[in-house]
């Protein structure tokens, strides 16, 4: 079963609004895989949220996790 990733804001210009990736074990692994598939992402500023919490250290992922890529917020 693949890992589903939802994407927001300016990042959707590169990846679209959702992705499915196989064999992703943790968030570091996810970022490496994303940079390989979408070289334009490598230069972009964003954080990874797992189950609606921003993660700041490498975090193990399971297929049940809701993973999201969040570029800088610009609401209001």
């Amino acid at each position: 079963m693949p890992l589903n990733i939802i994407i927001f804001g300016q990042l959707t210009d590169i990846t679209g609004s959702s992705l499915s990736l196989d064999n992703i074990s943790d968030t570091d692994n996810l970022v490496r895989e994303l940079n390989k598939r979408y070289p334009a992402l490598a230069g972009k500023k964003y954080v990874v949220a797992v189950d609606k919490q921003v993660v700041t250290t490498n975090t193990v992922l399971t297929n049940n996790d809701t993973v999201a890529l969040l570029p800088p917020f610009s609401g209001g």
Binding site: F8, G9, A68, S74, G75, G76
Partner: protein, 147 residues
């Protein structure tokens, strides 16, 4: 402290002046209130490289934004002596001159409402996963950056 449930803050399209008036009017039955503080964010027709912003299209990671907003709200009620707090943010298209953010706080004495309103605006701009896309009059666009 009473528990507050997750409240929806998102409205589709602009926040209407009549909606703001209704919100104010509803508080007339809360006769312990002495002061209300309101912040309204209005979409600016900025000119960037000679092109004028016609509207902003807002999107959000709604589930996460509502959880974050809940945490901000709980923090405000813990920190300030508030009676009420209401927040509304637009999703979708909001044209220049229209309102995209409405923050409304009320308290017995004015300071709590004023401070909580200002702090809530700062926090939600920094913490809510919401994005604006500035749509120019010539139909090109760019992603909004908050300062």
């Amino acid at each position: 402290m009473k528990e507050r449930k997750l409240k929806n803050i998102f409205v589709h399209g602009p926040v209407a002046a009549s909606f703001i008036a209704d919100s104010i009017q509803k508080h007339s039955i809360k006769t312990e209130i002495g002061g209300h503080s309101i912040f309204l964010g209005q979409v600016r027709a900025d000119t960037i490289d000679g092109k004028k912003v016609a509207s902003i299209e807002y999107t959000a990671y709604e589930e996460m934004a509502l959880e974050k907003m809940h945490a901000i709200r709980e923090g405000m009620f813990a920190k300030y002596d508030l009676i009420c707090m209401h927040v509304y943010h637009s999703l979708g298209i909001v044209r220049a001159g229209e309102i995209s953010l409405f923050v409304f706080t009320s308290s017995v004495h004015r300071k709590a409402a004023i401070n909580a309103c200002e702090e809530t605006v700062e926090r939600l701009k920094a913490e809510l996963p919401v994005w604006g896309k500035e749509l120019f009059e010539d139909e090109t666009w760019q992603w909004k950056k908050n300062n």
